[in-house]
Amino acid sequence: MLIEFTLNSENVSVDVPAYFRLSDVLRDEFGLHGLRNACRKGYCGLCSVVLDGKLVYSCLIPVFQIRGREIMTIEGYSKTDDFEDVYKGFKKEGVHLCDYCAPTRTLTTGILLDRYARPDEHQLMEILTTVTCSCTPYETLKKGILSAARFRQRRLQ
């Protein structure tokens, strides 16, 4: 099936079976390796991408569903000013993520800060639970997220 869509602001098309998972297509056909296919069950969150402005787990999305829609992955997100806020926030608070969850954690934090500009404890939990992470302390992550939120607010003021 020929599928046309917008990927990181570019119009692209790909010819793959309709039932392929979006995560596989992005990784194998477009070489976008910032997202990972770890569990394929919606548990780990490492395959998160942005579909029409909303975070989704791409392992649970069959590729035909993205026809004519807009996808952003960390590769595209890292070229935005929003990415810089998360980068600065994490750096400032010493959020030493390992290579494995770093890209998805960055993307999900940035996107959810759009929704929760000044996250309260409940919203922080919501941001944290999008991606499972086994190495970085939750308190450090929370500080990093709050710091990213502050950088973002300062920039947008």
């Binding site: 990784r27 194998d28 976008l32 390796h33 910032g34 997202l35 990972r36 296919n37 770890a38 569990c39 548990y43 780990c44 490492l46 992955t73 960390i74 590769e75 890292s78 990415f83 998360v86 980068y87 994490f90 750096k91 010493g94 030493h96 993520l97 390992c98 290579d99 494995y100 969850c101 770093a102 890209p103 998805t104 960055t106 939990m125 944290l128 639970t129 499972t132 086994s134 190495c135 970085t136 302390p137 939750y138 308190e139 450090t140």
Partner: protein, 679 residues
Amino acid sequence: MSEDKFRSRLAGQVSFPEDISSRKMVYALQVRAERAPGILKEIILPRLPSHIKFFQAEDIPGKNYLSYPDESVPLLADTEILYPGQPVGVLTGPDADELYSIRKEISLEITPIPGFPPYRMRDSRACPAEKVIQKGSTLRGMEKAETVVEGDFSLILPEMPVYPRQAVYCTKEGGTYVLHLHSQWPSLIRKLCAQAAGISRKQVEIHFNPAGRTWDSHVGQSVPAAALTVCITSILRQPVKLIAERDLPCRKEIFYHYRAGVDQSGRLTALEAQVYLNAGAYGCFSSEVVTRLALGTAGLYQCRHLDIRAKSFRSNYPPWLPLSTWGLAQGEFGAEMLVNHIALETGQDPADWRSRNLTAKGNLNATSGKIRQTPPLSDMITELSEASDYTRKHAVSRQIRTNRNALSITPSSYAGIGMAVSRQGYDFLSRDKLLTAASVSVTLQKEGTLDVLLGTVPATPGIMAIWRKNISASLSIEEEKVNLILDRPDEQSFNGPSCLSRNILVFTKLIDQCCSIIQKKRFREALPITETRTFRRRTANEWNEEEMKGTPFSQSSWGCAVVEVSLFTATREIVIPQIWLTINCGTLLDPPGARSFVESEVRMALTHCLDKQAIKPSLFPKLHIRFEEDGKKSTQPSGLEGLALGTIPAAFTQAVSQASGITLTGLPINSARLLSGGN
């Protein structure tokens, strides 16, 4: 970490084995026996299209076994199938989905055979390792006892999905096989891959990714996968990507039986213990694990008469050793459960009992070695008791539980508190070279750059930065000029696994030694200067593994934890509001790195406690970690591994026992089990 590297990490520009592919690549999918135990008679294949290949044991170009310490395991089983899921063949082809559907059509003819006998039966074939610690005479010790306390405990570890999954990619470049994978066993992988593919070790080059928390138990997943991939690459002469599948369900269980003689004041007069560890179908790594398990089981308390017997037993489940901390923390679970039991039986405060009975300078340890310095545990217990208000909370919760029927209202939750201590040592106790070997080679080049050949996998992301900083400071070389090389096959000597905090302990020391010699030679000799330092194994005088005598660890770290739980009356849900953890691990090289490491181990410990595959942030307790440092410059850094695992499970079990009023004897615990009496 340099700014650019951090940025590219967040931006997802680091590749993993599963990210690598090439046009000519084929996928490989393992075919496994579903039923066991049995004898494999025949593999019945459907008609395979020409682009699909199937390989079985006889196709392995080199040796069809993996020689691990203690026991070899077949790479592909050809006769005996000992556990469900044992690999018997590999399918390869360009399309992964096609491999999955072909695999469904393969059938195996297996004639059933009897399984291994139950673990209590004496059968040498079913017992890969047994270790005995004997001191004094427990018979005499028991005679002096006022009471004899017995305890049966069990620890069943849950399955934890491991990310990243074990994908392996291998390609042949010239005469070299280049492997991409995750593992903390680079040298063993190289050796076993070469053996299986019938090539020389120098022909195997490894690129591993220092991702995530590397757990000791990875070996069983990474080595066979790597060896199979290299074998197929060598047969097909094409790049191969082995598909990572879910881990097989293991039976990770340990059973403890204790008998302790206790005098009037509650002191131990004799201690007998039998511990049984389910090793799965093969006994690989058993002797090191059983040794440490025995040491852990013996505990850290004064007792003149000891008889500790630890055994591993085989069962028809996948082999899964070595476990995290190689058995020491798990052994301590039994000891700490017992100690708590004794304190309660003799009407004492468990913190107090521990402080009074810990071994000190001048005592002999469990293996009759002299203790030269009093461990810091007693002070740690006192401090932690104060910080967590342990003694008061313990007494109050006990009071409430004892008088629960007299309470006019039913509280919405009951509280409980528990404590445990742990000592971890990081030397390997067997003298097996596969485990203990370690060396570092440093070359100061003509251009002023410094090449440091490590051959180890960094276990925490921060450690490489610290080494670089230390080297730069000791030789006055800019950090950018220090190249830390993880792997270079033709120059690499054999190194054991990067676990048990060996990076911090052994490699930091070897790097220091190399640097100080280079510093001395630097302006006297012509460049390049190369210096190699090799880890010196301890002599049998210091530690005799056969007889289990002497001082097992050259250096120890100490931990003490207090765990508080709330048990909700209406739902029997167990919640952990707070954990206090005090750690003494010598000089801290990287405080934020150490904190991360400890917290991730706490999460792992909580999966054991709460019987969950992962601990959600909303379930994670408030964690108070305190690192004790003596501030002396001469204090060496020591390890961190195992201190949370050695303390939290036992402390948690005690806390839940107290909150529920049920004497629990092991993990896992869940609400339904608590309701039906606990065990």
